[in-house]
Amino acid sequence: MTARIEALPRTRSGSLLLGAFGVLCALTLWQLAPTLGLVDGDNLPGAVPVLGELFSLAGTSAFWDAVASTLAGAGVGLAIAVVLGVWFGVLMGSSKVAWHALRPTVEFLRPVPGVALIPVAILLFGPSMKSDVLLVAFGCVWVMLVQTLYGVRAVDEVALQTARSYGLTRADRIRFVQLPSALPYIATGLRIASAIALIVAVTAELVAGNDGLGKSISLAQSVGQTEEMYALIVASGILGIVVHLLFGGLEKRFLHWHQSQRVGAER
Amino acid sequence: MLEVVGLSKSYGTGAKVTRAIERLDFAVEEHEFVGIVGPSGAGKTTLLKCIAGLLAPTDGQTLLRGVPVTAPPPELAVVFQDYSRSLFPWLSVRRNVELPLRRKQEVADKGRAAAEALGAVGLAGFEDHYPWQLSGGMQQRVAIARALAYQPRVLLMDEPFASVDAQTRAELEDLVLRVREQFGVTIVLVTHDIDEAVYMSDRVVVLSRPPSTVQEILTVELPSPRDQVESKALPEFVSLRARVYETIMQPAAKVAG
């Protein structure tokens, strides 16, 4: 019996079975805590009412509007970050002058917490999607820049010399040699940045009050709709998983032909 | 000293069972040097792990001075092929050698034991280096020094020179033969290199293709101390080498059953 259980994680279906068991345990625990009075049911309702609330929320357009707003803010901000990050990454990766000129500025700005700019965003744009976009773009651009930079730097010298010996121009070398080989790195950057984008977007909505899941959560809290608040949080977690799977899958597609060049395998 | 009795090991169960080694029998005398060779894929490493007590055999057992081995015995040390994964990269050379001695009561002066072993392998002066600062051959010397400092009665070596270049390999072979005299240790060496097995051993155990059985046990009667050039030029060496080669190449059917 024990040996049987120990063999389970080795197969995909076995892992799924164990995972399902884990989810079931967590949900039971969550339901039992308020039912048995371990926590105040008004402050932390059980799994059943919260998931029920989530089901009924999923039938309202207000919920989907909030999801769409969050995704739009995160998406546009991420897109801007990708364009800027890749552009500057290629520039700094292929030109020594640009690298040295911009390095100190980038090194200083990179660890600056994006949420520090929330008051600035509010002041500039008020509670609007523009705030989301600004904060997400700032939060994500550095990961994209650094990953692209590593990717361009890690280009195979032989490939580059081959390109040079065939007389490819600098622009062509970037386009046909350096960018393609940097793609796995950019894909990894995209996976990390997508998670940051969602976090920053929800945070901005929560604090600045622009439309989206974050605002809905804080609204539900302020009017005492505890079940709705938890349902929205569960929804945001599911959204996080979907985004992670999406960009994780994208990264895998790029990595499979470049397995040797895995950086950022950490999670 | 060391007896391998009816030792078998198979992986998996039912239809997917893979039999790596099957009913191996041989004995190693005190102070003897036994080489184990076999075609690639023969369960050489499996056998060594079973002897070391790192792997539980499916059937049969290993006796170390009459006592069955169920876990790595304290009077036994192992030198692995992959020194980069067997040495601890976060410890200096000295600390790598000293770490196994921490709980070893028999070794009174641990610092001295380590220094002696490092001296014996020619690494005096490198005590404070980290493994990654040394060449592959030097790293394997550290692993050998660690084994020697542990003062084992039996030293098991699993393809210890397979990851170093040919020149270093010859140097390390002679080094092991030298320290064997100096420390009076019994050695079991697993290798796929027939020359190496014949050159270094007192006896050579030849394994068949899997499921591996003992094909033949040959006594090597070459004069000691051995020499890379002279010993290998002796007609006895040449004929022994040919004999081992032929034995490995012949089908296993003869011995099975």
Binding site: R10, K96, P111, P113, A116, L213, S218 | -
Partner: protein, 261 residues
């Protein structure tokens, strides 16, 4: 300045680094000085405000509480993450059971947990500590568990052969081997911790740097707001720097001789 000239040596590159950065700051100064927007404050005024506020009047009242909260929450996250990560890493069955739940919990955008935390625990300092600990422990836990699962079999066999067990095995073999992964998780968690700290102080606090910046914005004290943003920037920069120093010290052996880290 031609490229040929600069490529002569490190000094040239250093000059370029300093010069270009000075130019960027100067341009920023000029821009903020001439810009009429109410959201932009002249850099000189911001620096004055910074000196007046943060050197060192509000350090005790706002910076210290912020740092204490972060240290406690982050420290708790490290302990929980490493301990539970070790448990999950050493049991494939436990890891498979926990996997979906853990990946769900870590996928919740961190700040979304602040409202329920306030409902549950109120707006005291303990709430922020608890939320930081809760959110920051997942990346550390996942990385630790991966690290333990991927422990090298030859390394473990070596430890067994040489009778290295118990506390020695943990301290001298397992922990150092997993340390690079633990640090990778800690690095991810550090930025989350800073994010949460600032956010929590903005929405539910009576002191702290985040609170100060948010208040300044609400009162349109633009100089003060930018000064606070600058401080948060410096804080993020400083904490990352400190983290890098500690990481390099602890993982000194992990820096290979070939110059790649």
């Amino acid at each position: 300045m031609s490229r040929m000239h600069l490529s002569r040596g490190r000094l040239g590159w250093l000059t370029l680094e300093v010069g270009a950065t000075a130019l960027i700051v100067a341009l920023l100064w000029l821009y903020t000085d001439t810009n009429e927007s109410y959201a932009v404050a002249p850099l000189g005024d911001v620096l004055d405000a910074f000196r007046a506020t943060w050197l060192f009047e509000h350090v005790g009242s706002d910076v210290v509480p912020s740092l204490v909260r972060m240290t406690l929450g982050y420290g708790a996250a490290i302990v929980i993450g490493v301990v539970v990560g070790f448990g999950l890493g050493s049991s494939p069955v436990l890891a498979a059971i926990a996997a979906p739940v853990v990946s769900f919990l870590r996928s919740i955008p961190a700040a979304a947990l602040l409202p329920p935390a306030i409902v549950l625990f109120g707006i005291g300092g303990g709430t922020k500590v608890a939320v930081i600990a809760f959110v920051c422990c997942w990346p550390i836990m996942l990385n630790t568990s991966d690290g333990v699962r991927e422990l090298d079999s030859t390394m473990l066999a070596t430890a067994r052969v040489y009778g290295i067990r118990g506390i020695d095995r943990l301290r001298m073999v397992v922990l150092p081997a997993v340390a690079p992964r633990i640090f990778a998780g800690m690095r991810t968690s550090l930025s989350i911790a800073i994010l949460l700290l600032v956010t929590s102080e903005m929405i539910a606090s009576t002191n702290g740097i985040g609170y100060f910046v948010f208040q300044a914005q609400q009162q349109f004290a633009v100089d003060d707001m930018w000064a606070g943003v600058l401080l948060l920037g410096l804080l993020g920069f400083g904490l990352n720097l400190l983290f890098g120093v500690i990481e390099r010290r602890v993982l000194r052996w992990n820096v290979r001789g070939d110059g790649s880290n």
